[in-house]
Amino acid sequence: MIHPYIGLTEEEVKLMLQEMGLDSIDKLFEDIPSRYFLKKSSKYSKPLSEWEVRTHIKNILSKNRVLFYGRLFIGGGVWPHVVPSIVRELLKRGEFYSSYTPYQPEVSQGVLQALFEYQSLMAELLDVEVVNASMYDWGTALGEAFRMAKRVTGRNKILYPHYISPERLEIAETYTEPSKIKLEEYAQNINDGRIDIGDLEEKIGEDVAAVYVEYPSYLGFIPLNIKKAGEIAHDHGALFIIGVDPTILGIFQSPGKLGADIVVGEGQPLGLPMNFGGPLLGIMGCRMDIKLIHQLPGRLIGMTSTIKGERAFTMILQAREQHIKREKATSNICTNQALCAIATAIYLSLLGKNGFKKLGEQILARTKYMMEQLSRIDGVEAPLFKTIHFKEFTYRVKGKNSSKVILEMMEKGIMAGICVGKWFKELGESILTCTTEVHSKEDIDHYVKSLREVLEK
């Protein structure tokens, strides 16, 4: 069969068999007991030409519905953001995307240096010294962080905040359950989202490996006394883990300065499209403390030199990893999200310190503006938490079922947000909504106007 993806011609196949003294390829499969062979080959389809496949995929995709950019206000783990054109342009270079994990550093300096730069740029953002070359996403990074905390401290319990992403929590539970780590919730103030210090102090003890905080919280507010949580953790010999949406870090204090020992987070906002939820970029880093670094999962790239003394980059501390340590490894992770990390390196290089601060301002301004506008509508309580929000916030519509509001907004061509009342019963019929630099002021005004119409109906 001649196919563009198969290298051998019919003639070459014949020549090769001849050279090997075989009369057919079947001879090479004779060691497999014949009863295992399929009687009929898989017939799901004939090979389709490039054009046929393009048509097929485009036709299926036409069943998706993309609204105007400014009409999508959903966050909750993946967020609409601007991705500068050159990010994808550069990722499409075949030398990058068609390469494997850089096992041969001498021919892989490009990926290695780009990943080193990702680690370094992310370390600047987070204000820690060490960031690994990526995890699958925030949720899995969180699960790994909890496991790491147990290995570092030898303790078994993790304290997590009430307003945590339910999806991340579920992943963390799946990850930690086999190693018998106990996850326990601590309270947050329902009025302003502050960490309930009394509750935290009551729950912390000699058995706690780590205290975890989300920054901003899943519901978009900043827990203002976050630093105190870290102090309490440290007073009791526990680690302090901060989970972060990095887009806040141009404006808000860094996890490093807030006392984090381990930082996890989601890198998707930094140069990756939403892609129906994946690929994402799991951020994971820690302080430069040998006790921590030796327990850090995932690949690490380091700067070093050649034997002759030129600068070079290579994978380091591989002795933590599965291919050396096997069942004693810090994690099983092998293939990670390298190309996504490179996207983020490109993105952060483009923005730089001023651009990154501006990004934060753009988002903060829109969040505040949208909350202010919504709160002026009769019957709308926005935001539910009386404190600072970034990118996301919750609101409630008096006397109206939240899923109904979302449905009616959709009829007006707006994806208004997601219902979070089922996760946080005390919040009732509440909607989590999200605004970023993709929305113009008119987009937000349009949202507000539409919600008003929905209420008046």
Binding site: M1, L48, V107, N275
Partner: protein, 511 residues
């Protein structure tokens, strides 16, 4: 041909930190409308001083500087698009360009995973259709697309085995059997899922030692993780016995699908008796490896294990002609990944499967196996190279030779030869894996390569072997034609000299 004149680009490319010019910008934002500006002021007023950030150490570059920087870096990187990449166990086949183009469609990139169902029918349909094909190829009943890579799939598989035994009241099952030839992720995944790992040795044919297996399998065994063909490229001919032994104690068989390429369209894991399988879409199904991800490692299971798959699964309601997500999975092991997995990678695998077709898969298996055996046929005659285990048995899509004779006779190691191959414009094979072979050289040409390319690879390798006997110094100091010379790996990981970030570099510089 032999020398193709390979010289990799040698930019003395500084890091982005060194390229920084104060005041340069690579991105601009719209000016804030006065009302937004006002809101921003209001917001700033509320932020307490100790929560404000004033020290952001990101570099400053123009857009063109960023483009050049990363273009230069890409030129110092080797991919399948640059040349033959016979990295065993990694199936570095061609990654079709059409896939890259199609996933840039905004009806993928600008779709949020939590949008209303009626707006994501296209995405769900692609997942559903891909699942139907993977079911057909493997014989499994259902798939979960959540795993982001092979190892992630293994972890999920182990969790499913655990959930199954708990459900059946077999709480004592706490041992996972793993062959000594297995990939490192297998034992690591089993341990992560709470299992004690028990290693079964390979016999003289490189297959699972059945006698030993019988001895070490007891009531506590939950299952076995197996690669077939195994990492030596040898088909586990006693698979029926292994199945009987493991099923005999109510254990389950896990199939590490990293090596499925050789069996595509010919033999299905389910028909061999496996209960769970993961596939590496970033190997077998041609989605790019991306320098280390993103990949995708979907997990398929037989009927009796479907209940344990993580939520949600994609379902199709024929009456309403609508695809939907089923979250109601009370027995599930729980979620292991945000949302539904690495979606755009799934699209690429689906595109590949349509392009190659059901018949094409058989050809992929056959030509990849032919290419590998042909290359082995030539290479095994080279001085200093031996073929350990079952010398009479054909290999599948990959093979492992030993360079230990060469090493003893010349002092040239597998690593040295690997480095010298780079000089000739080839990527090196996998070396020192599997660990049961000394000075292992694991070669997988894949179906993508032509006879001409395979022949030339052989010629280059044979020339290097000659060099090893005549001029070993040249090899020991290799590579010479790459962006940098041989890297000092020891210094890289030494606690005193280790530099994991620019920050650490700066502090070390100060000292």
């Amino acid at each position: 041909m032999i020398s193709n004149g390979y010289r990799q680009a040698r930019w003395l490319e500084p890091t982005v930190f060194e390229l920084s010019r104060s005041g340069a910008v690579g991105v601009d934002f719209p000016e804030l409308d006065p009302e937004l500006e006002k809101s921003l002021k209001n917001a700033f007023k509320e932020i307490p001083e100790d929560l404000k950030r004033n020290d952001l150490g990101l570099p400053e570059l123009s857009e063109l500087e960023v483009v050049r920087h990363f273009t230069r870096l890409s030129q110092m990187n080797y991919g399948v698009n640059s040349g033959m990449y016979p990295l065993g166990s990694c199936t570095m086949k061609y990654n079709p360009a059409i896939s890259e183009e199609l996933v840039d469609d905004e009806r993928i990139t600008y779709i949020h995973p939590l949008q209303p169902l009626e707006t994501i029918q296209g995405c769900l349909e692609i997942m559903w259709r891909l699942e139907q094909i993977l079911k057909e190829i493997t014989g499994m009943a259902r798939f979960s697309f959540q795993p982001a890579a092979g190892a992630h799939g293994e972890f999920l598989g182990c969790l499913i085995i655990r959930a199954y035994h708990r459900d059946k009241g077999m709480l004592h099952k706490n041992v996972m059997i793993v062959p000594d030839s297995a990939h490192g992720t297998n034992p690591a995944s089993a341990a992560m899922a709470g299992y004690e790992v028990r290693v079964v040795k390979s016999d003289k044919d490189g297959c699972v030692d059945i006698e030993m297996l019988e001895k070490i399998v007891d009531e506590n065994v939950a299952g076995i993780m197996l690669t077939n063909p195994n990492t030596l490229g040898v088909f586990e001919k006693n698979i029926d016995k292994i199945v009987d032994i493991i099923h005999g104690v109510d254990g389950l068989l896990y199939y590490d699908g990293a090596n499925l390429n050789a069996l595509l369209g010919k033999v299905r894991p389910a028909d061999m008796g496996f209960d769970i399988v993961h596939l590496n879409l970033h190997k077998t199904f041609s989605t790019p490896h991306g320098g280390g991800g993103p990949g995708s490692g979907p997990v398929g299971v037989v009927e009796k294990l479907v209940d344990y798959l993580p939520p949600p699964l994609v379902e199709y309601d024929e009456k309403e002609d609508i695809f939907y997500l089923d979250y109601n999975r009370p027995k599930s092991v729980g979620k292991i990944k945000m949302f539904y997995g690495n979606f755009s990678v799934l699209v690429k695998a689906y595109v590949y499967l349509l392009r190659i077709g059901g018949e094409g898969l058989v050809k992929v298996a056959e030509t990849s196996v032919l290419a590998s055996n042909y290359l082995l046929h030539k290479i095994r005659k080279l001085k200093g190279i031996t073929l350990p285990y079952a010398p009479e048995s054909p290999r599948k899509h990959e093979f492992v030779v030993s360079l230990s004779k060469l090493y003893k006779e010349t002092g040239i190691s597998a690593k040295d030869v690997a480095k010298r191959l780079l000089d000739y414009g080839y990527h090196a094979p996998t070396i020192y894996f599997p660990t049961i072979v000394e000075e292992a050289f694991m070669i997988e040409p894949t179906e993508s390569e032509s006879k001409k390319e395979i022949d030339n690879f052989y010629n280059v390798l044979s020339k290097i072997i000659e060099e090893a006997y005549e001029d070993p110094e040249k090899i020991k100091t290799a590579p010479h034609n790459t962006s940098v010379g041989r890297v000092d790996e020891f210094r890289a990981s030494h606690p005193k000299t280790m530099i994991p970030s620019w920050r650490i570099y700066k502090t070390r510089e100060r000292v």
